[in-house]
């Protein structure tokens, strides 16, 4: 069955205050449970802010501070799901975006290295 990477884009800067964040995380946990129950869930990870990222380039062994892409939003976390087709993946992404109030990018996974 096809797998999809659901990347969550969040604005740089401070996280929202706990009274905003906590209900969101609770709703997310409920959604994640549903994904596990229905066999959609593969795995998920949350990331430290983009300001902690470092880029390494192939030539001259160059190392630079900050994320690769300039911008005000960066990937803050991701979930890998297993879905029958794009419509099913988009439905999960839509629900995730609604819970998080953040945009979610859906990208098909081409292959997996074991």
């Amino acid at each position: 069955m096809p797998e999809y990477l659901l990347s969550i884009y969040q604005p740089d800067g401070d996280a929202p205050p706990p009274e905003v964040l906590e209900p969101i995380m609770a709703d997310l946990a409920t959604l994640n449970d549903e994904m596990r129950r229905t066999g959609v869930w593969v795995f998920a990870m949350g990331l430290h802010p983009a300001s902690t990222a470092t880029v390494v380039r192939p030539k001259e062994n160059l190392i630079t501070d900050g994320p690769f892409a300039e911008g005000k939003e960066h990937v803050g976390g991701f979930t890998v799901i297993r879905a029958a087709d794009l419509d099913e993946a988009l439905n999960w992404a839509r629900r995730m975006a609604a819970v998080l109030t953040l945009p979610v990018e859906v990208r098909p996974i081409a292959f997996e290295e074991k």
Partner: protein, 394 residues
């Protein structure tokens, strides 16, 4: 292509591709073998005569070719051939009209995960059988750009597993409106320019009406296209405004069909933007001369349209009807408040109203603004003609 085959190609190409896509789950393969089958028909049919079921012959021939190809590829590299294939849908159950493969194909082509220009191009290519060169020419895009657009879209359908099916009830309204928008875009592109695009859009509209007869917006769109198309003979290759058209040139058969469809869809009492626009056109086509037009009814229909699909362009069209009832001054004050000052049509309507108010200098500068913004050649020709007439008397 011989005339008989040309007709079969226009009528059956999309069906053949759709059947082959379902059977083999591979769009490129489907296109290639269907084209091969037509190439074979060009050689064979003049000798053997056109077979009793031309579409059946094309599909069987294409299917045999596809089976040969898949076998050959499987021998060469079993794994690779498998990886390149879409998950084919299981054979559909026989039954409702919704099971038509062409319907699946059009919903795939018009999937909202594809950019709109790609939806339009894919629909014309896979369902209409237009070549990449023809589509590129119609949309004034270099052929390599169009080819790349098509390759990219087909790649996304394959890799992201865009499904090959008619969406379920929950998604149907949104997805159908994307399909109808693509068909109408093809039509309007052809309306003032390439006739074959209009014909293709009407063909697609008829197909949708046949396959989804219970969707009033599907009937509404077909009616809108037929009633608009009916006036083409009165426009020749130019733009002639409704009041100046020779109504004897209108196609009575298309008008009758369009008006019948308007009545049928309105009876369902689920109004939508296409149905109302079709109804507006039906009112116009009821009037034997321009001054017999029922402008009251037209204004009311625009009010309905604005209630369900508010847009400044629809307000602009409504103002044109208001001018016929309350005069150009009232209409002008309506359009002055619309946020359309980067739109050529706003200046064109303004210019006409100012001219009727005898404000010739203001009208001339409005025509100039409209001419700065207009892109469509026949609209440009019309506007510069109007401007020239007025400039003579100033």
């Amino acid at each position: 292509m011989t005339p008989g085959i040309e007709e079969v190609f226009r009528a059956e190409y999309g069906r053949a591709v759709a059947v082959l896509v379902r059977a083999f789950g591979d769009i490129d393969l489907a296109e290639e073998v269907v084209q091969d089958a037509f190439a074979e028909a060009v050689i064979r049919w003049p000798e053997t005569g056109t077979p009793p079921s031309p579409a059946g012959w094309i599909i069987t021939t294409a299917r045999n070719r596809a089976i040969d190809r898949v076998r050959r590829e499987a021998q060469r590299d079993a794994k690779q051939a498998e990886a390149a294939r879409l998950q084919p849908e299981p054979e559909p159950e026989e039954g409702g009209p919704v099971d038509d493969d062409r319907l699946r194909l059009i919903f795939t082509c018009c999937h909202p995960a594809l950019a709109e220009p790609a939806r339009v191009a894919l629909t014309l290519k896979l369902l209409g059988g237009l070549t990449t060169a023809e589509i590129a020419a119609a949309f004034l895009v270099p052929e390599p750009t169009m080819a790349q657009r098509l390759v990219r879209a087909k790649g996304k359908i394959r890799d992201a597993h865009i499904p090959y099916r008619v969406p379920g009830d929950a998604d149907l309204p949104d997805r159908l409106s994307s399909v109808l928008a693509v068909v109408y875009l093809i039509f309007t592109e052809g309306h003032l320019g390439r006739v074959e695009l209009s014909a293709e859009a009407i063909r697609l509209g008829r197909l949708l009406a046949e396959l989804m007869p219970d969707e009033p917006e599907v009937l509404g769109l077909l009616a809108l296209m037929l009633l608009t198309e009916a006036r083409r003979p009165a426009r020749a290759d130019r733009l002639v405004p409704l009041p100046d058209q020779d109504r004897r040139l209108w196609n009575a058969e298309l008008i009758a069909e369009g008006q019948d469809l308007v009545r049928r869809c309105l009876r369902r009492n689920r109004p939508g933007a296409y149905q109302i626009q079709a109804a507006i056109n039906a009112v116009h086509s009821d009037a034997r001369t321009a001054d017999q037009t029922d402008w009251w009814q037209i204004v009311q229909l625009y009010d309905q349209l604005l209630a369900i699909a508010p847009s400044p362009v629809a307000e602009l069209h409504r103002a044109v009807a208001v001018a016929e009832i309350d005069g150009p001054r009232v209409a002008l004050s309506i359009i002055d408040s619309l946020p359309l000052s980067s739109h050529y049509l706003w200046y064109a309507v303004r210019a006409e109203l100012l001219r009727r108010l005898d404000r010739k200098r203001d009208a001339l500068s409005a025509y100039d603004m409209a001419l700065n913004l207009v892109t469509q050649p026949s609209e440009r020709a019309f506007l510069s003609g109007r401007r020239a007439e007025l400039a003579v008397d100033v």
